[in-house]
């Protein structure tokens, strides 16, 4: 008998469409896997009935001879940042605990319309602020991976750490993620899976709990490049309800997948060779160049001179936008209200927000409030926006010399939970390679490259031109075919 939880998006979709098995059998297998993995804490709520209902719809459509959709019969995990009608949506915060959206986010609706079902809502760093999945009100998520010879709980990355854990642990064939400064790519790298952040504006932000609106972008996380291409196609599309949605057709990325890179130039940014990067990461980067050369690409050295300034600019811009976006949590319209006896309106705001937000969220709101405050706005915020323009210009210049950029996704492999909590800055540095593409709004993907000497996965990152997800996916496919990454975490949960 097939172990359905080993199947990916494409295999499930094609198997259901071809009558090899039913969508219900698949959904039941994944529901059981989810139910048996409470120790990983990947889900905040589970919705087995939603997955089964979607599966039955797919099975009935097949019986009736109707088309099944791009995700027909595929159960997925939904990051708990997407509003789901009637299903608690929290952004992993106490302030939204119990919030039951009266509407469905565009991205999740698109997925249901394509035939997908929902296994549950996935844990994440609170309001997507974090790189280790340790800031959730609902507890840390553990990676299914452990260091060789140790049983210390490892970080699944963040903020989409519930998503990365669920996909790596075979609790879901795929999951949604969101990426503001690396929150799809870094967790994908930490757990040996694929994840792509498309061009800013490809996926609607309507119904996605806002963190930093000029950076937030949804994308798929799955175990293969093909599965990412399929699911991204189902998620993306113009949405009039999002003012920054791209009004352009969604290409058929799946159909155009090709690992033949003849005629393509791959840029290697010299500024990404930073102090503190693991030797194993540097070795995998070298290996990545070889793989892409083998696929027919020409490797060229490029320069992105403002790389060093991308992360500090991000840590002004993202908190600034967050401080504004999170002003909506006031204890009046939805979510938590903390109203001490006899308190007035202002006290209610301050008490509610003190009780409802976690420490990292408060820290970022304060930084954002400070850099936007009178007297500091130009020195911090305007300066950061100008640096952002320069980071973006670096990429524009690079595209004169190459078609896609290859770099590591992260400076290190996963780390034990709790090991980087002493200083917020050391945690921020984890996203040093991921943030430049976020600031520039470019499509970027992480694909597994191999294991380090501790037996932990390492990812390689591909960054493409705006709107050119295809070249990113194709280069990712070329690496996937050559890396032959088949390692999976041993089940301990």
């Amino acid at each position: 008998m097939t172990d359905f939880t080993e199947l990916g998006v494409k295999a499930i979709r094609d198997g259901v469409a071809g009558g090899d098995f039913t969508a219900r059998e698949v959904a039941e297998s994944f529901n059981a896997a989810v139910a048996g993995a409470a120790q990983l804490n990947a889900f905040i709520v589970t919705t087995p009935e939603h997955a089964l209902a979607a599966a039955d719809t797919a099975d009935k459509a097949r019986a009736d001879g109707k088309p099944l959709g791009a995700m027909g019969g595929v159960p997925i995990g939904m990051k708990d940042l997407f509003a789901t009608h009637g299903v608690q949506t929290t952004a992993a915060s106490h302030i939204l605990e119990g919030f039951s959206p009266q509407y469905e986010s565009t991205v999740s609706q698109n997925l249901w319309d394509a035939g997908a079902g929902m296994l549950g809502k996935l844990n994440l760093d609170q309001f997507a602020m974090g790189s280790s999945n340790e800031t959730s009100h609902f507890g840390n998520v553990s990676s299914p991976w452990q260091k060789a010879g140790s049983n210390a709980a490892m970080s699944p990355g963040g903020s989409s750490g519930g998503s990365s854990t669920a996909v790596a642990a075979r609790l879901a064939p795929a999951a949604t993620g969101t990426d503001t400064g690396g929150s799809i790519r870094q967790p994908a790298a930490f757990t040996g899976i694929c994840g792509i952040k498309p061009t800013y504006g490809r996926c609607s932000r309507w119904g996605v709990v806002a963190f930093a609106s000029s950076l937030d972008q949804a994308g798929p996380m799955a175990r293969s490049v093909e599965d990412c291409a399929i699911m991204l196609g189902a998620m993306a599309g113009f949405d009039a309800k999002d003012a920054t949605s791209l009004q352009m057709d969604v290409p058929d990325w799946e159909a155009a997948l090709s690992s033949d890179l003849k005629g393509k130039k791959v840029g290697i940014p010299r500024e990404y060779r930073m102090d503190g990067t693991d030797d194993a990461i540097l070795a995998s980067w070298e290996q990545g160049k070889e793989w892409l050369r083998d696929a027919g690409a020409e490797i060229v050295d490029i320069s992105l001179p403002h790389t060093k300034y991308a992360l500090p600019a991000y840590y002004i811009i993202a908190p600034a936008e967050a401080s504004s976006n999170l002003a909506r949590y006031d204890g009046v319209r939805y979510g938590l209200r903390d109203l001490p006896e006899g308190a007035g309106l202002q006290d209610m705001y301050a008490e509610t927000r003190a009780a409802g937000f976690g420490d990292e969220v408060k820290r970022r709101i304060l930084i954002g409030t400070y850099v936007l405050s009178a007297g500091f706005y130009d020195a911090y915020y305007t300066q950061a926006q100008k640096v952002r323009a320069l980071v973006s210009r670096d990429f524009d210049n690079a595209w004169n010399e190459c078609d896609v950029i290859l770099a590591p996704t992260t400076p290190t492999a996963s780390f034990p939970l709790g090991s980087l909590n002493d200083d917020p800055l050391t945690m921020y540095l984890n996203d040093v390679f991921a943030v430049p593409a976020s600031l520039a709004g470019l499509p970027a993907m992480s694909v597994p490259a191999g294991l380090n000497p501790d037996g932990l996965p390492l990812g390689l990152q591909l960054v493409g031109k705006a709107f050119d997800e295809q070249t990113v996916l194709n280069a990712g496919l070329a690496i996937q075919e050559r890396a032959g990454f088949a390692a999976k975490p041993e089940k301990w949960w």
């Binding site: 209610m348 930084i367 409030t369």
Partner: protein, 100 residues
Amino acid sequence: MSVDKQTVAKIAGLARIKMGDEQLEALVPELNNILDWVEQLGEVDVSGVEPMSAVIPNALRLRADEVDADPKTGGGKRDEVLANAPAAEHGFFGVPKVIE
């Protein structure tokens, strides 16, 4: 630039987050570490550079001048809007008394 406890208290007030003395004191070095680190942006020559707020070229659209063109964002949703309110009364959001 660096912040002291009084400044952190002021920012927390602006952000409407109640904080005790201990929290404020803990935040002073944390915020200063971060602010010291972002200070390096001052080194960058940005003369003649326009601040960037929208990364991907995209024009804002006008929609048809039509009431409730999209039912999801149109009107007539009072009950849905109030469904998650901590205190809803008589079809309104309830708040503590604001007029003495």
